[in-house]
């Protein structure tokens, strides 16, 4: 057997890239904890932790859960984005494009108003409406008599997202302006400023479970990205397996949306970037998306909480950078249509 040097190099480079991304994420996480606006904008000296109980409090109970939440949010949105893209065989799909994020936001607002405001009900409601949003989009796209599959999915997604946005608008109108409205508004902008351990811990099981499923099933994802008949001929049960992975992706998305609100564009832009780095094969693209997404949202959130005395909503920052990057991809690179 001939030795294929480029393949060895490819594997070697990919491993190096993983190691680098993992290291970068860990270092960024460690540094982020010491970065902020206390006691003054910039660095918090580690020596101060011993002397200043407030600093220690801040670090353990505010910054650490927030950093954890940011990484989780990025990882979950990116992995879900990649999964949805491959399941729908459509590289332009993103949780926010399919009614998933808006559905989750509506579900959260609905739960805040009518179902009590416990973290568990908000999450469950977010997940249920996220799923409903996805189903509606899929159903509508099948009914539309205009354009190719990509266009129909996007159009249906816009319509469903608008529907849920309007629903959120109605809920805002009905909400108590002092207690409920601020909570709802938070969903729409997306942010992590109110994150404490009691918010983060409940979403850990669902997020971890969903991401583990996606990670383990990444070869199946490659199979399911083939045409229906081909996937079937390779022994897959496309309907059942798609549904299982779809549920995992929507579960992860709904969990982090119930924590961070609608943080847009991450699920579209990070998988694109990951594919540029390591290729389309989900064996590499999925873990790369996970790490890159965690890093991206962590950096965005660091900016969000330090740039000004007030908080810049995280969703605005991710949308800004995501949309800009997307424009570059659309104009500079060939994006294939069906």
């Amino acid at each position: 057997m001939k030795v294929h040097t480029h393949e060895l190099a490819g594997g070697f480079l990919r491993n190096r890239l993983f190691a680098f991304l993992l290291l970068a994420l860990l270092v960024a996480a460690a540094l982020s904890v010491f970065f902020g606006r206390y006691p003054r904008p910039g660095w918090l000296s580690p020596d101060r932790l011993q002397a200043d109980p407030l600093a220690a409090q801040l670090l353990w109970n505010l910054r650490l859960p927030r950093v954890t939440a940011a990484i989780l949010t990025g990882a979950a949105l990116s992995a879900s984005g990649l999964t949805l893209q491959m399941l729908f065989r459509n590289p332009l799909v993103e949780p926010g494009f399919l009614g998933v994020s808006q559905g989750a936001a509506f579900g959260s607002a609905f739960a805040i108003l009518y179902l009590g405001r416990s973290a568990l009900t908000v999450q469950a409601s977010a997940a249920a409406f996220a799923l409903l949003g996805l189903w509606l989009t899929y159903f509508l796209a099948g009914r539309l008599r205009y354009g190719g599959w990509i266009l129909r999915m996007v159009l249906a997604g816009i319509a469903v997202s608008a529907l849920f946005s309007a629903g959120v608008g109605i809920l805002k109108y009905l909400a108590d302006p002092l207690t409920q409205l601020p909570e709802i508004t938070f969903w729409l902008l997306g942010g992590l400023w109110s994150t404490r351990w009691p918010n983060v811990l409940p979403i850990l099981p669902l997020t971890a479970l969903s991401l583990t499923v996606l990670f383990l099933a990444r070869w199946r994802l490659n199979v399911l990205a083939l045409e229906e008949e081909t996937a079937f001929s390779l022994g897959a049960a496309p309907g059942r397996e798609r549904l299982a992975l779809l549920l995992a992706a929507v579960g992860a998305t709904a969990a982090v949306v119930s924590l961070a609100g609608t943080v847009g564009w991450v699920g579209l832009i990070i998988p694109h970037l990951a594919r540029r780095l390591v290729g389309a094969d989900a064996r590499w693209a999925l873990p790369t998306s996970l790490l890159l997404g965690g890093l991206f949202v962590l950096l965005c959130d660091n900016l969000a909480r330090t740039v000004s005395a007030g908080e810049v909503p995280l969703g605005i920052l991710t949308s800004l950078s995501g949309a800009a990057a997307f424009l570059v991809i659309l104009t500079r690179f060939r994006v294939k249509s069906a």
Partner: protein
């Protein structure tokens, strides 16, 4: 024949909606190591027949047997080790590399969540080498020419290492050189023991390589048997419902659209003269 058929259909009926039968009383016997063509016009039910054999749909009536057992007795995975599928074309929304795509053919040999290992990579490379396209390994699947695309689809099926290969219109989109390339490849695969069943609307493709030929029209079998005996002026004309003629040229058969001879147009007569 002395061998039992590796694949057989017994009086198979099928309908998509329960009302109109797309396949009517289709019977077929395929013997190991042979090349078998299903020939007919567009809409004859050829692809549906392959889908049924693949297990994608179940017959309304009748039975399909693979390797002596009813198709329904196979699990998804064991079935995918018996038959590999080559679609007419595959649309790739993502930029897979050729080797990554061919590697997907190893899926039936992996456990549910197992990743392919070095042995699978080697099998995929061997499939590419067997088809003489090892140099394509690192190309992007979406950047292939029509002929290369078809070769890569077949390589993925070959990497699956199944005794039976099903191909849907393998030469339909290809120019003559690539048609020859694919047909020669089918002959090579059969010579090495693979059983080949392919659909085509091109009688020339069937005449060139098929051992047996089944003529289909409107979901029914019109005739079947050794390709050289079945493909005649009379049967083809009936199958395509258009005048065709099978001629003998240098000992080989050629199919010709039976158009009347046309006089040279008046405006060109001067030039020729």
């Amino acid at each position: 024949m002395s061998h039992p058929p590796i694949l057989s259909l017994h009086h198979v009926w099928f309908s998509y909606n329960g009302a109109h039968d797309v396949l009517q009383d289709v019977s077929l016997e395929v013997y190991p190591g042979t090349i078998n063509a299903i020939l007919g016009p567009n809409g004859a039910g050829k692809s549906t027949l392959l889908h049924l054999i693949l297990g994608l749909y179940r017959p309304r009536q009748g039975e399909i047997r693979v390797g002596g057992q009813p198709l329904t007795a196979y699990s998804r995975r064991s079935r995918s080790r018996q038959m590999a599928w080559v679609p007419q074309r595959e649309h790739f929304p993502f930029e897979f590399r050729v080797l990554e795509y061919v590697l997907l053919g190893r899926t039936p040999h992996l456990d549910f969540l197992q990743m392919p290992g070095p042995g699978d990579v080697q099998a995929a490379r061997q499939a590419l080498e067997r088809l003489g396209i090892a140099d394509l390994a690192d190309r992007r699947v979406s950047a292939l020419s029509g002929g290369e695309h078809q070769m890569v689809l077949i390589a993925r099926a070959v990497a699956q290492e199944t005794p039976i290969l099903l191909l849907d219109e393998p030469t339909a989109h290809l120019d003559l050189a690539n048609q020859r390339r694919i047909l020669t490849l089918l002959e090579d695969l059969a010579a090495q023991g693979t059983t080949v069943l392919f659909t085509t609307h091109d009688p020339e493709a069937a005449l060139a390589v098929a051992d047996t030929c089944t003529l289909m029209r409107s979901g029914r079998i019109l005739d079947q048997g050794p390709a050289a005996e079945v493909i005649t002026t009379e049967t083809l004309t009936r199958t395509y419902e258009t005048p065709l003629r099978v001629l003998s040229v240098d000992g080989a058969r050629v199919v010709r659209l039976d158009l009347p001879p046309r006089p040279l147009r008046a405006c060109l007569k001067n030039k020729v003269a």
